[in-house]
Protein backbone atom coordinates (compact mmCIF):
# COMPACT_ATOMS: atom_id res chain seq x y z
CA UNK A 1 0.00 0.00 0.00
CA UNK A 2 1.35 3.38 -1.05
CA UNK A 3 0.10 6.06 1.33
CA UNK A 4 0.26 9.65 0.16
CA UNK A 5 -0.32 12.67 2.43
CA UNK A 6 -1.65 15.37 0.14
CA UNK A 7 -1.25 18.02 2.84
CA UNK A 8 2.50 17.34 3.07
CA UNK A 9 3.52 16.24 -0.41
CA UNK A 10 1.19 18.25 -2.61
CA UNK A 11 -1.07 17.56 -5.57
CA UNK A 12 1.56 17.76 -8.29
CA UNK A 13 3.71 15.09 -6.64
CA UNK A 14 0.68 12.80 -6.28
CA UNK A 15 -0.45 13.16 -9.86
CA UNK A 16 3.11 12.79 -11.26
CA UNK A 17 3.53 9.57 -9.28
CA UNK A 18 0.17 8.26 -10.54
CA UNK A 19 0.88 9.28 -14.13
CA UNK A 20 4.20 7.41 -13.89
CA UNK A 21 2.34 4.11 -13.48
CA UNK A 22 2.24 2.62 -16.95
CA UNK A 23 1.04 -0.81 -17.97
CA UNK A 24 1.66 -3.42 -15.29
CA UNK A 25 2.87 -2.15 -11.94
CA UNK A 26 3.36 -3.80 -8.59
CA UNK A 27 2.23 -0.61 -6.82
CA UNK A 28 -1.46 -1.39 -7.20
CA UNK A 29 -2.86 -0.05 -3.92
CA UNK A 30 -2.83 3.66 -3.17
CA UNK A 31 -4.29 5.71 -0.37
CA UNK A 32 -4.54 9.51 -0.40
CA UNK A 33 -4.99 11.20 2.99
CA UNK A 34 -5.78 14.84 3.80
CA UNK A 35 -7.45 15.65 0.47
CA UNK A 36 -9.22 18.66 2.05
CA UNK A 37 -11.29 19.41 -1.04
CA UNK A 38 -8.26 19.85 -3.34
CA UNK A 39 -8.86 19.95 -7.10
CA UNK A 40 -7.87 17.38 -9.74
CA UNK A 41 -6.95 14.58 -7.32
CA UNK A 42 -5.98 11.48 -9.31
CA UNK A 43 -6.99 13.05 -12.61
CA UNK A 44 -5.56 11.45 -15.75
CA UNK A 45 -4.60 8.06 -14.25
CA UNK A 46 -4.00 5.34 -16.85
CA UNK A 47 -3.14 2.13 -14.97
CA UNK A 48 -5.06 -0.78 -13.39
CA UNK A 49 -4.54 0.41 -9.81
CA UNK A 50 -6.84 0.89 -6.79
CA UNK A 51 -6.82 4.38 -5.24
CA UNK A 52 -8.72 5.32 -2.08
CA UNK A 53 -9.13 9.01 -1.24
CA UNK A 54 -9.88 9.43 2.47
CA UNK A 55 -12.02 12.55 2.55
CA UNK A 56 -13.86 14.97 0.29
CA UNK A 57 -12.48 16.22 -3.00
CA UNK A 58 -12.75 19.43 -5.06
CA UNK A 59 -13.16 19.89 -8.80
CA UNK A 60 -12.43 17.15 -11.36
CA UNK A 61 -11.37 14.28 -9.10
CA UNK A 62 -10.67 11.17 -11.22
CA UNK A 63 -11.14 13.16 -14.41
CA UNK A 64 -10.24 11.33 -17.64
CA UNK A 65 -9.73 8.12 -15.65
CA UNK A 66 -8.56 5.04 -17.56
CA UNK A 67 -8.45 1.58 -15.97
CA UNK A 68 -8.11 2.68 -12.33
CA UNK A 69 -10.60 2.01 -9.54
CA UNK A 70 -10.88 5.21 -7.50
CA UNK A 71 -12.87 5.32 -4.26
CA UNK A 72 -13.76 8.61 -2.58
CA UNK A 73 -14.52 8.19 1.11
CA UNK A 74 -16.35 11.50 1.29
CA UNK A 75 -18.13 13.79 -1.16
CA UNK A 76 -16.89 14.98 -4.54
CA UNK A 77 -16.85 18.50 -5.99
CA UNK A 78 -17.89 19.55 -9.51
CA UNK A 79 -16.92 17.43 -12.51
CA UNK A 80 -15.99 14.21 -10.75
CA UNK A 81 -14.91 11.52 -13.27
CA UNK A 82 -15.42 14.00 -16.10
CA UNK A 83 -14.61 12.39 -19.43
CA UNK A 84 -13.80 9.04 -17.81
CA UNK A 85 -12.65 6.50 -20.42
CA UNK A 86 -12.70 3.25 -18.40
CA UNK A 87 -12.28 1.95 -14.86
CA UNK A 88 -14.52 2.59 -11.87
CA UNK A 89 -15.10 5.59 -9.59
CA UNK A 90 -17.10 5.04 -6.38
CA UNK A 91 -18.15 7.97 -4.20
CA UNK A 92 -19.44 7.21 -0.69
CA UNK A 93 -21.01 10.66 -0.24
CA UNK A 94 -22.63 13.15 -2.61
CA UNK A 95 -21.39 14.48 -5.94
CA UNK A 96 -21.62 18.10 -7.07
CA UNK A 97 -22.52 19.42 -10.52
CA UNK A 98 -21.84 17.59 -13.80
CA UNK A 99 -20.65 14.29 -12.33
CA UNK A 100 -19.47 11.96 -15.10
CA UNK A 101 -19.92 14.64 -17.77
CA UNK A 102 -18.88 13.59 -21.29
CA UNK A 103 -17.75 10.19 -19.93
CA UNK A 104 -16.88 7.69 -22.64
CA UNK A 105 -16.68 4.49 -20.61
CA UNK A 106 -16.26 2.89 -17.21
CA UNK A 107 -18.59 2.98 -14.23
CA UNK A 108 -19.33 5.89 -11.88
CA UNK A 109 -21.15 5.05 -8.64
CA UNK A 110 -22.50 7.80 -6.39
CA UNK A 111 -23.88 6.44 -3.11
CA UNK A 112 -25.41 9.74 -2.03
CA UNK A 113 -27.09 12.33 -4.24
CA UNK A 114 -25.77 13.99 -7.39
CA UNK A 115 -26.63 17.62 -8.06
CA UNK A 116 -27.42 19.28 -11.38
CA UNK A 117 -26.24 18.17 -14.82
CA UNK A 118 -25.25 14.63 -13.80
CA UNK A 119 -24.10 12.74 -16.91
CA UNK A 120 -24.36 15.77 -19.18
CA UNK A 121 -23.27 14.79 -22.70
CA UNK A 122 -22.34 11.27 -21.55
CA UNK A 123 -20.93 9.16 -24.36
CA UNK A 124 -20.78 5.58 -23.13
CA UNK A 125 -20.18 5.81 -19.38
CA UNK A 126 -22.47 3.96 -16.95
CA UNK A 127 -23.58 5.99 -13.92
CA UNK A 128 -25.40 4.53 -10.90
CA UNK A 129 -26.72 7.05 -8.34
CA UNK A 130 -28.14 5.60 -5.12
CA UNK A 131 -29.87 8.87 -4.20
CA UNK A 132 -31.40 11.68 -6.26
CA UNK A 133 -30.09 13.71 -9.20
CA UNK A 134 -30.56 17.45 -9.89
CA UNK A 135 -31.94 19.38 -12.83
CA UNK A 136 -30.73 19.10 -16.45
CA UNK A 137 -29.20 15.68 -15.87
CA UNK A 138 -28.25 13.67 -18.98
CA UNK A 139 -28.60 16.79 -21.13
CA UNK A 140 -27.56 15.81 -24.68
CA UNK A 141 -26.54 12.37 -23.43
CA UNK A 142 -25.38 10.28 -26.37
CA UNK A 143 -24.82 6.75 -25.11
CA UNK A 144 -24.34 4.78 -21.93
CA UNK A 145 -26.69 4.20 -19.01
CA UNK A 146 -27.79 6.43 -16.14
CA UNK A 147 -29.46 4.58 -13.24
CA UNK A 148 -31.09 6.60 -10.46
CA UNK A 149 -32.52 4.87 -7.38
CA UNK A 150 -34.09 8.10 -6.10
CA UNK A 151 -35.75 11.02 -7.88
CA UNK A 152 -34.70 13.16 -10.85
CA UNK A 153 -34.97 16.97 -11.04
CA UNK A 154 -36.30 19.21 -13.80
CA UNK A 155 -35.64 18.69 -17.52
CA UNK A 156 -34.28 15.14 -17.35
CA UNK A 157 -32.67 14.03 -20.61
CA UNK A 158 -33.18 17.28 -22.51
CA UNK A 159 -32.13 16.91 -26.19
CA UNK A 160 -31.21 13.31 -25.50
CA UNK A 161 -29.62 11.03 -28.09
CA UNK A 162 -29.22 7.29 -27.44
CA UNK A 163 -28.34 7.09 -23.73
CA UNK A 164 -30.73 5.03 -21.58
CA UNK A 165 -32.06 6.59 -18.40
CA UNK A 166 -33.56 4.45 -15.63
CA UNK A 167 -35.24 6.21 -12.71
CA UNK A 168 -36.91 4.45 -9.77
CA UNK A 169 -38.45 7.51 -8.11
CA UNK A 170 -40.25 10.53 -9.49
CA UNK A 171 -39.09 12.73 -12.37
CA UNK A 172 -39.88 16.39 -11.79
CA UNK A 173 -40.06 17.06 -15.52
CA UNK A 174 -38.72 15.61 -18.76
CA UNK A 175 -36.62 17.75 -21.08
CA UNK A 176 -37.29 18.36 -24.76
CA UNK A 177 -37.54 15.14 -26.79
CA UNK A 178 -37.20 12.85 -23.75
CA UNK A 179 -40.03 10.33 -23.24
CA UNK A 180 -40.85 7.33 -21.09
CA UNK A 181 -40.30 4.03 -22.91
CA UNK A 182 -41.31 0.45 -22.20
CA UNK A 183 -39.05 -1.83 -20.17
CA UNK A 184 -38.20 -4.89 -22.25
CA UNK A 185 -36.45 -8.07 -21.05
CA UNK A 186 -33.04 -6.82 -22.18
CA UNK A 187 -33.48 -3.70 -20.03
CA UNK A 188 -34.24 -5.76 -16.90
CA UNK A 189 -31.09 -7.80 -17.56
CA UNK A 190 -29.03 -4.67 -18.14
CA UNK A 191 -30.34 -3.07 -14.93
CA UNK A 192 -29.71 -6.17 -12.89
CA UNK A 193 -26.07 -6.10 -13.95
CA UNK A 194 -25.69 -2.35 -13.39
CA UNK A 195 -27.28 -2.48 -9.92
CA UNK A 196 -24.94 -5.28 -8.97
CA UNK A 197 -21.84 -3.54 -10.27
CA UNK A 198 -23.06 -0.28 -8.75
CA UNK A 199 -23.24 -1.91 -5.29
CA UNK A 200 -27.00 -1.26 -5.22
CA UNK A 201 -28.42 -4.76 -5.76
CA UNK A 202 -29.60 -4.97 -2.14
CA UNK A 203 -31.32 -1.60 -2.41
CA UNK A 204 -33.47 -1.82 -5.52
CA UNK A 205 -34.93 -4.31 -8.02
CA UNK A 206 -34.96 -3.82 -11.81
CA UNK A 207 -38.76 -4.01 -12.00
CA UNK A 208 -39.07 -0.88 -9.83
CA UNK A 209 -37.58 1.37 -12.52
CA UNK A 210 -38.99 3.28 -15.45
CA UNK A 211 -36.99 3.80 -18.61
CA UNK A 212 -36.63 7.12 -20.42
CA UNK A 213 -35.08 7.75 -23.80
CA UNK A 214 -35.11 9.90 -26.88
CA UNK A 215 -38.26 10.42 -28.97
CA UNK A 216 -35.78 11.05 -31.84
CA UNK A 217 -37.70 14.04 -33.15
CA UNK A 218 -34.86 16.54 -32.83
CA UNK A 219 -32.10 14.60 -34.55
CA UNK A 220 -32.57 16.56 -37.75
CA UNK A 221 -34.23 19.92 -37.98
CA UNK A 222 -37.83 19.59 -39.09
CA UNK A 223 -39.96 22.69 -39.20
CA UNK A 224 -42.97 20.71 -37.95
CA UNK A 225 -41.08 20.06 -34.69
CA UNK A 226 -39.92 23.66 -34.13
CA UNK A 227 -42.08 23.99 -31.04
CA UNK A 228 -40.32 21.06 -29.37
CA UNK A 229 -36.91 22.75 -29.19
Amino acid sequence: MQSFDLGKEGLRALNSALHGLKGQTNMTDWEVVNPKGAHAIAAGVDAPVDITVRGSTGYYCAGMNKQATIRIKGSAGPGVAENMMSGTVIIDGNASQYAGATGRGGLLVIKGNASSRCGVSMKGIDIVVHGNIGHMSAFMAQSGNLVVLGDAGDALGDSLYEARLFVRGSVKSLGADCIEKEMRPEHYALLEDLLKRGEADGKAKPEEFKRYGSARKLYNFNIDNAAAY
Binding site: K36, G37, A38, S56, G58, Y59, S75, G77, P78, N94, S96, Q97, S115, S116, G134, H135
Partner: protein, 298 residues
Protein backbone atom coordinates in the same frame (compact mmCIF):
# COMPACT_ATOMS: atom_id res chain seq x y z
CA UNK B 1 -15.53 33.20 -10.98
CA UNK B 2 -15.34 34.92 -7.57
CA UNK B 3 -15.08 33.33 -4.15
CA UNK B 4 -17.52 33.75 -1.30
CA UNK B 5 -17.20 32.72 2.33
CA UNK B 6 -19.62 33.30 5.18
CA UNK B 7 -19.91 32.36 8.80
CA UNK B 8 -22.88 32.71 11.15
CA UNK B 9 -21.92 31.77 14.70
CA UNK B 10 -24.34 30.06 17.05
CA UNK B 11 -21.78 29.46 19.80
CA UNK B 12 -20.67 32.73 21.49
CA UNK B 13 -17.37 31.05 22.43
CA UNK B 14 -16.29 31.31 18.79
CA UNK B 15 -17.06 35.05 18.51
CA UNK B 16 -13.51 36.19 19.43
CA UNK B 17 -12.23 34.04 16.53
CA UNK B 18 -14.68 35.16 13.83
CA UNK B 19 -12.17 37.39 12.01
CA UNK B 20 -9.44 34.75 12.11
CA UNK B 21 -11.77 32.01 10.84
CA UNK B 22 -13.16 34.15 8.01
CA UNK B 23 -9.67 35.30 7.00
CA UNK B 24 -8.47 31.71 6.71
CA UNK B 25 -11.54 30.77 4.66
CA UNK B 26 -11.16 33.77 2.35
CA UNK B 27 -7.45 33.21 1.68
CA UNK B 28 -8.26 29.62 0.64
CA UNK B 29 -10.54 31.07 -2.06
CA UNK B 30 -7.84 33.39 -3.49
CA UNK B 31 -7.54 31.57 -6.81
CA UNK B 32 -11.25 32.09 -7.51
CA UNK B 33 -10.62 35.82 -7.84
CA UNK B 34 -7.42 37.76 -7.18
CA UNK B 35 -8.59 41.27 -8.22
CA UNK B 36 -9.92 42.59 -4.93
CA UNK B 37 -11.21 41.36 -1.63
CA UNK B 38 -13.55 42.51 1.09
CA UNK B 39 -15.10 41.48 4.33
CA UNK B 40 -18.15 42.50 6.33
CA UNK B 41 -18.10 41.75 10.04
CA UNK B 42 -21.00 42.14 12.42
CA UNK B 43 -19.84 42.88 15.96
CA UNK B 44 -22.02 44.94 18.28
CA UNK B 45 -21.05 48.56 18.96
CA UNK B 46 -21.24 49.87 22.49
CA UNK B 47 -24.75 50.60 23.79
CA UNK B 48 -26.22 53.71 22.26
CA UNK B 49 -23.52 53.96 19.60
CA UNK B 50 -23.55 53.15 15.91
CA UNK B 51 -20.72 52.63 13.43
CA UNK B 52 -19.93 54.35 10.16
CA UNK B 53 -17.10 52.73 8.21
CA UNK B 54 -15.46 55.14 5.76
CA UNK B 55 -12.75 54.90 3.11
CA UNK B 56 -10.39 57.45 1.63
CA UNK B 57 -7.74 57.48 -1.07
CA UNK B 58 -5.89 60.06 1.11
CA UNK B 59 -6.39 58.71 4.62
CA UNK B 60 -3.62 60.83 6.25
CA UNK B 61 -5.27 64.02 5.16
CA UNK B 62 -8.94 63.02 5.37
CA UNK B 63 -8.89 61.19 8.71
CA UNK B 64 -6.75 63.81 10.50
CA UNK B 65 -8.83 65.40 13.28
CA UNK B 66 -12.03 64.04 11.71
CA UNK B 67 -13.33 63.00 15.15
CA UNK B 68 -12.85 66.56 16.43
CA UNK B 69 -14.40 68.13 13.33
CA UNK B 70 -17.45 65.83 13.58
CA UNK B 71 -17.77 66.55 17.33
CA UNK B 72 -17.87 70.26 16.52
CA UNK B 73 -20.45 69.69 13.78
CA UNK B 74 -22.92 67.48 15.70
CA UNK B 75 -22.17 68.56 19.25
CA UNK B 76 -21.62 64.97 20.47
CA UNK B 77 -18.41 63.00 21.00
CA UNK B 78 -17.24 60.85 18.07
CA UNK B 79 -14.43 58.29 18.19
CA UNK B 80 -12.37 57.22 15.19
CA UNK B 81 -10.39 54.01 14.70
CA UNK B 82 -8.17 54.29 11.63
CA UNK B 83 -7.22 51.09 9.79
CA UNK B 84 -5.13 51.83 6.69
CA UNK B 85 -7.43 53.37 4.05
CA UNK B 86 -10.54 52.78 6.18
CA UNK B 87 -11.73 54.17 9.49
CA UNK B 88 -14.58 53.24 11.81
CA UNK B 89 -16.42 56.15 13.40
CA UNK B 90 -18.48 55.48 16.52
CA UNK B 91 -21.32 57.95 16.78
CA UNK B 92 -24.35 58.20 19.12
CA UNK B 93 -27.18 56.31 17.41
CA UNK B 94 -29.52 59.31 17.36
CA UNK B 95 -26.83 61.36 15.60
CA UNK B 96 -26.03 58.93 12.75
CA UNK B 97 -27.87 60.88 10.07
CA UNK B 98 -26.42 64.18 11.30
CA UNK B 99 -22.91 62.68 11.31
CA UNK B 100 -23.31 61.39 7.73
CA UNK B 101 -24.43 64.73 6.40
CA UNK B 102 -21.67 66.55 8.31
CA UNK B 103 -19.16 64.04 6.91
CA UNK B 104 -20.30 64.69 3.34
CA UNK B 105 -19.75 68.40 3.94
CA UNK B 106 -16.46 68.15 5.90
CA UNK B 107 -14.75 65.48 3.77
CA UNK B 108 -16.56 65.33 0.41
CA UNK B 109 -14.21 62.76 -1.16
CA UNK B 110 -14.55 60.23 1.65
CA UNK B 111 -16.69 57.20 0.77
CA UNK B 112 -19.07 55.53 3.21
CA UNK B 113 -18.63 51.74 3.14
CA UNK B 114 -21.28 50.84 5.70
CA UNK B 115 -23.54 52.30 8.36
CA UNK B 116 -25.26 50.49 11.20
CA UNK B 117 -25.36 49.21 14.76
CA UNK B 118 -23.05 46.29 14.11
CA UNK B 119 -21.61 46.18 10.59
CA UNK B 120 -18.08 47.14 9.51
CA UNK B 121 -16.92 46.67 5.90
CA UNK B 122 -13.32 46.68 4.72
CA UNK B 123 -12.53 46.19 1.05
CA UNK B 124 -9.68 47.02 -1.31
CA UNK B 125 -8.00 46.03 -4.55
CA UNK B 126 -5.49 43.24 -3.96
CA UNK B 127 -5.18 39.64 -2.80
CA UNK B 128 -7.27 38.42 0.15
CA UNK B 129 -4.18 37.87 2.32
CA UNK B 130 -2.98 41.44 1.73
CA UNK B 131 -6.40 43.00 2.21
CA UNK B 132 -7.00 40.98 5.40
CA UNK B 133 -3.63 41.89 6.91
CA UNK B 134 -3.98 45.56 5.95
CA UNK B 135 -7.14 45.79 8.04
CA UNK B 136 -6.14 43.31 10.76
CA UNK B 137 -9.29 41.32 10.02
CA UNK B 138 -7.99 38.25 11.84
CA UNK B 139 -8.18 40.09 15.18
CA UNK B 140 -11.81 41.11 14.73
CA UNK B 141 -14.61 39.72 16.89
CA UNK B 142 -18.21 39.34 15.87
CA UNK B 143 -21.35 37.25 15.55
CA UNK B 144 -21.38 36.74 11.77
CA UNK B 145 -19.47 37.87 8.72
CA UNK B 146 -19.14 37.54 4.95
CA UNK B 147 -16.03 37.66 2.77
CA UNK B 148 -15.57 37.94 -0.98
CA UNK B 149 -12.67 37.69 -3.39
CA UNK B 150 -13.40 39.13 -6.79
CA UNK B 151 -12.70 38.22 -10.39
CA UNK B 152 -14.21 41.25 -12.11
CA UNK B 153 -16.48 40.73 -15.12
CA UNK B 154 -19.08 43.52 -15.07
CA UNK B 155 -17.26 46.68 -14.00
CA UNK B 156 -13.85 48.16 -13.18
CA UNK B 157 -11.43 46.79 -10.59
CA UNK B 158 -11.67 49.55 -8.00
CA UNK B 159 -12.13 49.76 -4.24
CA UNK B 160 -15.77 50.72 -4.67
CA UNK B 161 -16.31 47.89 -7.18
CA UNK B 162 -15.13 45.32 -4.61
CA UNK B 163 -17.67 43.38 -2.55
CA UNK B 164 -19.41 43.41 -0.06
CA UNK B 165 -21.86 46.12 -1.13
CA UNK B 166 -23.86 47.83 1.58
CA UNK B 167 -26.92 49.80 0.54
CA UNK B 168 -28.84 49.93 3.81
CA UNK B 169 -28.21 50.10 7.51
CA UNK B 170 -26.46 46.91 8.71
CA UNK B 171 -27.06 45.26 5.31
CA UNK B 172 -24.54 43.81 2.90
CA UNK B 173 -24.51 41.50 -0.11
CA UNK B 174 -21.83 39.59 -2.01
CA UNK B 175 -22.24 37.91 -5.38
CA UNK B 176 -20.66 35.25 -7.54
CA UNK B 177 -22.02 35.56 -11.07
CA UNK B 178 -23.31 38.31 -13.31
CA UNK B 179 -26.70 39.95 -13.76
CA UNK B 180 -28.15 40.74 -17.15
CA UNK B 181 -30.98 43.13 -16.21
CA UNK B 182 -29.09 45.37 -13.80
CA UNK B 183 -29.22 48.53 -15.94
CA UNK B 184 -33.01 48.56 -16.14
CA UNK B 185 -33.37 47.67 -12.48
CA UNK B 186 -30.88 50.40 -11.49
CA UNK B 187 -32.99 53.00 -13.32
CA UNK B 188 -36.11 51.82 -11.47
CA UNK B 189 -34.35 51.90 -8.11
CA UNK B 190 -33.00 55.41 -8.82
CA UNK B 191 -36.57 56.53 -9.47
CA UNK B 192 -37.47 55.07 -6.07
CA UNK B 193 -34.76 57.18 -4.44
CA UNK B 194 -31.77 54.82 -4.30
CA UNK B 195 -28.30 56.21 -5.06
CA UNK B 196 -25.44 54.24 -6.61
CA UNK B 197 -21.68 54.54 -6.27
CA UNK B 198 -20.69 52.31 -9.22
CA UNK B 199 -21.83 50.75 -12.50
CA UNK B 200 -21.56 47.36 -10.84
CA UNK B 201 -24.34 44.76 -11.22
CA UNK B 202 -23.99 43.51 -7.66
CA UNK B 203 -24.63 46.95 -6.19
CA UNK B 204 -28.02 46.84 -7.95
CA UNK B 205 -28.85 43.50 -6.30
CA UNK B 206 -27.85 44.91 -2.91
CA UNK B 207 -29.99 48.02 -3.43
CA UNK B 208 -32.88 45.82 -4.62
CA UNK B 209 -32.77 43.77 -1.39
CA UNK B 210 -32.49 46.97 0.69
CA UNK B 211 -35.55 48.38 -1.05
CA UNK B 212 -37.56 45.23 -0.38
CA UNK B 213 -36.56 45.31 3.30
CA UNK B 214 -37.65 48.96 3.47
CA UNK B 215 -41.00 47.92 2.02
CA UNK B 216 -41.40 45.67 5.05
CA UNK B 217 -40.35 42.32 3.62
CA UNK B 218 -38.28 39.93 5.72
CA UNK B 219 -34.84 38.91 4.48
CA UNK B 220 -36.30 35.60 3.28
CA UNK B 221 -39.14 37.36 1.43
CA UNK B 222 -36.74 39.86 -0.15
CA UNK B 223 -34.61 37.03 -1.52
CA UNK B 224 -37.73 35.24 -2.80
CA UNK B 225 -38.75 38.41 -4.64
CA UNK B 226 -35.27 38.56 -6.16
CA UNK B 227 -35.81 35.16 -7.79
CA UNK B 228 -38.53 36.80 -9.90
CA UNK B 229 -36.87 40.15 -10.53
CA UNK B 230 -33.14 39.49 -10.89
CA UNK B 231 -32.08 37.91 -14.18
CA UNK B 232 -28.69 36.31 -14.62
CA UNK B 233 -26.29 34.05 -12.81
CA UNK B 234 -25.94 34.40 -9.10
CA UNK B 235 -25.08 32.90 -5.83
CA UNK B 236 -25.78 35.63 -3.25
CA UNK B 237 -24.86 35.71 0.40
CA UNK B 238 -26.61 38.49 2.30
CA UNK B 239 -26.00 39.81 5.80
CA UNK B 240 -28.30 41.79 8.07
CA UNK B 241 -27.88 42.86 11.70
CA UNK B 242 -29.35 39.59 12.97
CA UNK B 243 -29.10 37.29 10.04
CA UNK B 244 -27.45 35.68 7.13
CA UNK B 245 -29.11 34.45 3.91
CA UNK B 246 -28.13 32.46 0.82
CA UNK B 247 -29.84 32.10 -2.56
CA UNK B 248 -28.78 30.67 -5.93
CA UNK B 249 -30.41 31.32 -9.31
CA UNK B 250 -32.53 28.53 -10.86
CA UNK B 251 -29.70 27.33 -13.14
CA UNK B 252 -27.30 27.20 -10.17
CA UNK B 253 -24.03 26.89 -12.04
CA UNK B 254 -22.19 29.13 -9.55
CA UNK B 255 -20.95 26.78 -6.88
CA UNK B 256 -21.99 26.80 -3.24
CA UNK B 257 -21.38 24.50 -0.28
CA UNK B 258 -22.80 24.89 3.21
CA UNK B 259 -21.97 23.27 6.51
CA UNK B 260 -23.87 23.38 9.78
CA UNK B 261 -22.96 22.24 13.28
CA UNK B 262 -24.23 23.20 16.75
CA UNK B 263 -21.59 25.95 16.70
CA UNK B 264 -22.04 27.61 13.32
CA UNK B 265 -23.50 27.80 9.82
CA UNK B 266 -20.78 28.23 7.19
CA UNK B 267 -20.83 29.02 3.50
CA UNK B 268 -18.06 28.48 0.94
CA UNK B 269 -17.87 28.66 -2.84
CA UNK B 270 -15.96 25.41 -2.50
CA UNK B 271 -15.61 22.80 0.22
CA UNK B 272 -11.91 23.73 0.46
CA UNK B 273 -12.92 26.94 2.25
CA UNK B 274 -14.57 24.96 5.06
CA UNK B 275 -11.99 22.27 5.77
CA UNK B 276 -10.30 23.98 8.74
CA UNK B 277 -13.49 24.84 10.63
CA UNK B 278 -13.86 23.11 14.01
CA UNK B 279 -15.86 19.89 13.83
CA UNK B 280 -16.22 20.00 10.04
CA UNK B 281 -15.75 16.20 9.88
CA UNK B 282 -19.10 15.74 11.63
CA UNK B 283 -20.91 18.76 10.17
CA UNK B 284 -23.98 18.47 7.97
CA UNK B 285 -22.55 19.46 4.59
CA UNK B 286 -24.82 20.18 1.60
CA UNK B 287 -25.20 22.18 -1.59
CA UNK B 288 -27.96 24.80 -1.47
CA UNK B 289 -30.72 23.86 -3.94
CA UNK B 290 -31.36 26.10 -6.97
CA UNK B 291 -33.95 28.89 -6.54
CA UNK B 292 -34.28 28.12 -2.85
CA UNK B 293 -33.85 30.70 -0.11
CA UNK B 294 -31.94 29.79 3.03
CA UNK B 295 -31.59 32.12 5.97
CA UNK B 296 -30.71 32.07 9.61
CA UNK B 297 -31.60 34.76 12.10
CA UNK B 298 -30.84 35.03 15.77
Amino acid sequence: MCGIVGLFLKDPKLEPKLGAMLTDMLITMTDRGPDSAGIAIYGGAKDGLGKITIQSANPDKDFKNLDGDLHDAIGQPVTILVKSTHAVLEVPLDQMAAARSALAHLRPTVKVMSVGDAIEIFKEVGLPKDVASRFDVSKMKGTHGIGHTRMATESAVTTMGAHPFSTGSDQCLVHNGSLSNHNGLRRELIRLGKTFETQNDTEVAAAYVSRKLEEGQSLGQALESGLDDLDGFYTFVVGTKNGFGVVRDPIACKPAVMAETDQYVAFGSEYRALVNLPGIEDARVWEPEPATVYFWER
